[in-house]
Every structure is written in C-alpha cells, then in structure tokens.
Amino acid sequence: MAPPSWLRSRPVVAGLVILALGACVPLVGSGYVLGLLTVAFYTAVFAMAWDLLFGFAGEVNFGPTFLIGLGAYTAGILDARLAPNVSLWLCVLAGAAAAVIGGVVLALPALRVRGPYFGLTTLVAVLMLQNMVVVFADLTGGEIGLSVPDVMSVSATANYWIAFGFMAVSGAILYGLSRSPIGLVLQASGQDPVQAGALGFNVTKHKLFAFVVSAFFSGLAGALMVFYMGTASVGTFVDISVGVQIIVAAVLGGRRTVIGAAIGAVFLIAMGEALRPLGELATLIVSLLALLVVLFFPDGILGMLQGRSRRD
C-alpha cells in the first residue's frame, strides 16, 4: 500500500524527522540545551507565521516584532497588574487577541498601498511600538524591562515540552493552511493580484486573513515566551534586529514552505550558540552564512534538501 500523499511531501517528512529528534532531546540534553531550544521553538513559530505572509500572501512584513511585541507586552502588563487574580493563560490569550487587533488596525491601511510601501509601513509600526514602550515606562518597564510575577514552570523540561508542543501544533496548523485551497488562493494573490482579482477572488480580504492568522500566532508565541522568560524587554521582543533575525530564519530555511522557516530558526539559534566562543565574530559568521544561502540557494535549506529539480 502506498503511503498517504501528505507523507510523500518532503517538507512534511523533514518536519516529522525534526519533531522526532526534538522529542529525544530531553532524554540527553542538559538544562542549558533545553533552555536554548525552548527559545528556538518560539522563534520558529515567529518565523513560520512570517512565512505565511511573505511566502504565500507575497507581502514582506518588516515588522514581525510589532505583532510579537504587542502579544508579549499585553500579556506581560496584564499579568503584572492583575496577578494572581487572573490566570496566566488568560493573559496569554489576551496577548494573542491584542496582536490580532493591532495587526488588523495596521494591515487595513497598509494593504491599500502597493509594493515596498507595505513593508515600510510595518517597519514604522515597530519603531512606534518601541517608542511607546519607552514613553509609557511606568506601565511597560521601559528600557529596563517588565518583569512578570507568573512563570509557566520552573522546570526546564516542562518548559521545553510546552514550547515543543506549541511549535508542533502551530506548525501543523500553518502548514495545513498553506496546503489548503485558501493557501492556493493566497499564493495566487501574492504572485499575480490582477489575475487573482479577475478569477473572482477578493485579494485584500485574503491578504487580511493571512495577516490575522500571522498576527495570532506571532502574538500567542510572544505571550508564551514572556511567561517562559519571566520578563519582557524591547531587546528580546520588539527591536528591529529581532525582526531581522526572524526574517533571516524564514528565508534561510526556505521560503514558501512554513516548515523550512522553523528549521531555519532552530538552525540560526543553534549556530549562534555553537559559535559563541568566537565572541563578536559569531554574529558575523552567522550573518555571512545566511547571506551565502540567500544568494546561492534562494530556496533555502529545505530547498537544498528538495534538490534543484523544480527550478528551470
């Protein structure tokens, strides 16, 4: 009997292999490794959510951290103000909701403009959020950061499993969505909006939908990560450089694959850590490596795995 069609897709196989490997890590890894991978898994969700928007809807969102930051800070502030009367999980949901609302407010006007202006709008949104955090320092903790009273768990293993499960579920949903009829329409809208319109699709509606989904997962992941770290700071959730790292991860892993984005994120963080003994040089090497992959293997790591058959 032939395996079901979804098992024959290389991205799915690659994803499953990585999940299997990930499930084994707690057996052998130290607490340090587990902590590192926990962060990597949240970053993987950021990157997958970003890929849905860029790889499928064709819109470059330079401000993934706007959505992440909204989710993280909303959840963090609520918890800091209301704990222990309000459950941590409620704060997480509120964070995701805030990211969705913020995303819609940003995307509605931004999707009206074409070409690079959408990206610029999202970039400005990040800078605005960053300023807001600093200006309303008594609420947000400003540049020092916001510490939250609740944490998900003190056990590195428990935190690892939460992040791992969250990534697996998000990945499955985002990947399934990208393969669904809506994913096809999204790709069509991204590649040739004029034709998609002529085929009867409301392009703006579909792109807005992609933005909302992307915002939901970004915000959710951001909020969860706050309760893993116990603090929220501009440097970890909002700063442009965080956004750049997410974008690099997604492109490095393989655009338009969703799963590739997760691989890229884990790879990027692991590389950064492995090269840490080199000090400042590590960042340079990782950046250089990313640059080389983007220049010579535009389909990313997953694209390399799938071979070059699809091109030409």
């Binding site: 329409v185 069509a188 009867g200």
Partner: protein, 484 residues
C-alpha cells in the same frame, strides 16, 4: 450582452481611451484591434474592472459595472484569458486550474473531490490531460497558454475577454486555439478578442472594431475593416512616398553589422527565430513589423542586453562575450522605444550625460549641432525631461543617443504613441540627419509610412522571422498586403 458606451480612460494627462462604444452579443466573437498604444488593452481592463474608467458606461446584461472591482465583475460572469500571467510554479497544472474553481470564501479549508473532477474535465477539454501533474516551469509555451484558457473556462463566464490569443504560437497551435475559442461561441458565450492586427483574427471573429489613439476608427466584418481607408492609413500610412536621397551609399562592400541566425527565447516563447540581416556603413535600414514581431528583442540581442544564439558581427569581429557597455562604446548605440530619459534632469543634463566621454569643446560642438538638428530642444534646454511632450521626449532621446557619437544608431519605434503631426517633425529631423552625416541607422518601426521614405533597404519581420527583404519601392506591390 456587453455594451460599452462613451468609455473614456485618462492616466494623468494621457487619454488612453476616448468615447469608445461597442457591444458584444451572446454567441458572437468581436475582435477589438489596433496597433500598440491604441488603447485596446486599456479598454479591456476597464471592462474587467482592473482599471476604473474615468467616464462612460460598461453594461453587462443590462447592469452598469463600470468601476466595480474585478473580483465582483468576475463573479457576475466575466472571465479574462491573460496573455501573460505568473502561474503557481510549485503547484501542478491541476492545482493551478483548481485555484480558479475555489469559491471566494475563507471557509475553504479542505480540497473537495468535486473541484478535482471539474478541474480534470476542463484540463481534458483544453488538451492538458497529459501534463496534469507537471509543474508550469516544465511546460511548453502553448501549454502555459492552454492553462490560462482553462482557468478562464473554470469561471464559467458568460463573457470571455481574450488578450492577444495567438501571440507567440505556431500555426498549428493557432488553429487549435481558434477551435477552443470558437467553442465558447458555440456554447452561446460572448467573446471579446483583443489583438494587434485584423489579419490574425479575421477567420475567427464575427465582427471587428478597430481602434487608433484611443478612438474607434472602424467597425464591421473583418473584411470590411481590412478594406477601410482609415484602417489602411493607420497600418500602412497613406500614400507611400520616398524621399530623394542624394548620395546613395555603397550597395556593395563589407557589412558594418552582420546578424547571422540569431534566435532569442523568453522562457518557452521563441521571440526571434533564425534572423539574419546586415547593415553596410552609411546605410539606412528599416526593420518593419507589428508590435510583438520581435524587433525590440532583436535589437536587444545586438546590443548584448539579452542572451541569444547565433552570431552578431560588428565591423568584422564577433560581439559575443562583450558587455552591453562595451558594445555601446564600440559604436552601436540603441535608442530604446521606452526612451529611458532621466525624467528629473533637464534637457541639457540629459544630453551632457550622453556625451560624458567627450572633451568639453567637442561636447559643446556636438550640442550645437544637435540643437540645429532639433531646434525645439534649444528652447527647452533648462526644462525637466519629464515635462516635455511625447514628441520632444523622443527627439531628446535620439539627441542623447547621438551625443554618444555612434557609428550605428539603432532607433527602436521612435513613433510609438506620437500624434501624426509630431511624426512629420520627427521625419524631417531624420531626413536632415541622413543628409548631413554618414551615420548608419537601423530603424525598427511598426509605422511603414514613417520608415519607408528614409530607408535604403527594408526588412519585414513577422512572428520573429524575416518575412520579406528588399528595396522600399518594391514594398507596396510585394509586401504591403501581407503586412496588414
């Protein structure tokens, strides 16, 4: 089924379509034809809702749809077969067709078997049955076009708009596509074909509407439109006149430019097929052909801007391997149809950039000479190029090319989008240019009347191949009918 009345579309100051009116009934194929820049595509985009018309009415089944967004127009039953589109390269042909069958709802999370069956049926109908599981980049050009057709059929439209159905297809493929389009008619759908010339769609259309510079100039059966005086004047020009030339160039001797068996492919489409031609020193050679015939592509191959097979020799040596910049420095200067002026710079700055390799005194002399050739530019020296009229911009583009002191000037469609009165000024300038220098010119033109008076020799290019070659005075008797 479709009625268009007083349709007008302005882009800024440019009037692309002016008071256009026509109608299409169910079970009828109407050809909307006109040379490049005549506004036919804009008219089609206004019907589809891709562009909103500035004024006028577009009625579909009695309902005014002017200004509706395209996805709403599409849902009312209007489909568009695109000439070029960007297919989903990672998905199979079948999935590409399925896209057109998916309803515009966000709840569509699962693929349905019904959509799958319908997509397969449509693929069979257009002849894609054998390549269903291939991905678009591996398909032949004609199959990509079939896929576009399949997507339009999937919409089940009552009115089908087809943009240049036969561009880039071989004769057999044209026949197959004609049949597919005729099927629409047999099913009672209305079809609007948009194309460059009457000839290619004559056998298929029931009626044709000819457009020129945004306006309707003729309407009737294909034969009537082809006989129409105005149409003949637009395509062939009025009386074909020759300008006297005092010193005829050497009719023999080694060619300055020699093109041998040049072929250019754009992906799957063969844009130039085995073209060989030559230009001798001091000669004025015209390459005439309709838009899309391959003129610009051939010029770009000569200038080293596109990859090509075959050989281009310049002054006896092959040009292969040289960069476009080196070729231009070697003396082949191309003045592109898009003009490529620096819009925010003044006339003088544009010219000085063209002559950046000249010594200051030589530059001043050259400028003086050009201002004598194009006196209007002298009056406009301080004006920003973007604000010049179309004709002035064209003169500036030619002048800038001449600043580079070419040995061979390639002029690509200088008349594109220009009003007849400007053509005369431009024609006079070319005449003076030819009289005052030994410059060698290769002119690409759609407008034969414009090209003919100046040319020493003429090549006719059609669908990427040379169709005729000879002296201008033989053109009217030998090639004019084939050209229309």
């Amino acid at each position: 089924m479709l009625e268009v009345e007083q349709l007008t579309k302005r882009f800024g100051g440019l009037v692309a379509v002016k008071n256009l009116g026509f109608s299409v009934r169910g079970g009828e194929i109407l050809g909307l034809i006109g040379p490049n820049g005549s506004g036919k595509s804009t008219a089609m985009r206004c019907v589809m809702g891709v562009d909103a018309p500035t004024a006028g009415a577009v009625r579909f089944e009695g309902r005014d749809i002017a200004g509706l967004p395209s996805h709403k127009v599409s849902r009312l039953g209007v489909g568009l077969v695109f000439q070029h589109s960007r297919p989903l390269n990672r998905q199979t042909v079948l999935e590409n067709i399925k896209v057109a069958l998916i309803p515009d709802r966000l709840g569509m999370l699962l693929h349905s078997a019904e959509i799958d069956d319908r997509a397969r049926a449509i693929a069979e109908r257009v002849g894609l049955g054998a390549v269903l599981d291939r991905k678009p980049p591996t398909l032949a050009f004609a199959d990509l076009r079939r896929m576009e057709l399949a997507k339009a059929i999937a919409q089940h439209p009552k009115l089908v708009l087809v943009d240049e159905p036969f561009a880039g297809l071989t004769a057999t493929e044209v026949a197959a596509f004609s049949e597919l389009i005729a099927e629409f008619r047999a099913e009672g759908r209305a079809v609007l074909l948009v194309d460059h010339n009457v000839k290619s769609v004559a056998a298929l259309v029931d009626r044709a509407v000819a457009m020129y510079l945004g306006e309707k100039i003729a309407e009737g059966t294909a034969a009537e439109v082809m006989r129409d005086e105005t149409v003949r004047r637009v395509y062939l020009g009025g009386a074909l006149v020759r300008a006297a030339r005092d010193a005829a160039p050497a009719a023999h001797g080694a060619p300055l430019l020699e093109v041998r068996d040049v072929e250019v492919r754009y992906g799957k489409a063969l844009a130039v097929q085995g073209v060989s031609l030559h230009v001798r020193e001091g000669e004025f050679v015209a390459l005439v052909g309709l838009n899309g015939a391959g003129k610009t592509t051939l010029f770009n191959a000569i200038s080293g801007l596109v990859r090509h097979s075959g050989e281009v020799r310049w002054a006896g040596a092959p040009l292969a391997g040289l960069t476009p910049a080196a070729i231009a420095r070697g003396g082949i200067v191309q003045c592109p149809e898009t003009r490529e002026l620096f819009g925010d710079m003044t006339v003088r700055e544009n010219l000085e950039l063209g002559g950046h390799r000249l010594e200051p005194t030589a530059l001043a002399e050259r400028l003086d000479w050009l201002f004598d050739l194009f006196p209007i530019l002298r009056e406009r020296t301080g004006q920003v190029a973007r604000t010049l009229s179309g004709g002035e911009q064209q003169m500036l583009a030619i002048a800038r090319a001449l600043m580079m002191e070419p040995r061979l000037l390639i002029l690509d469609e200088p008349t594109l989008g220009l009003a007849p009165v400007i053509l005369e000024t431009l024609s006079n300038a070319l005449h003076r240019l030819r009289g005052s220098t030994r410059l060698t010119v290769l002119l690409g033109e759609q407008n034969v009347t414009f090209a003919l008076p100046h040319a020493d020799r003429l090549y006719v290019i059609d669908h990427g191949r040379l169709a005729w070659e000879g002296e201008p005075d033989r053109f009217e008797t030998e090639a004019a009918d084939a050209y229309l």
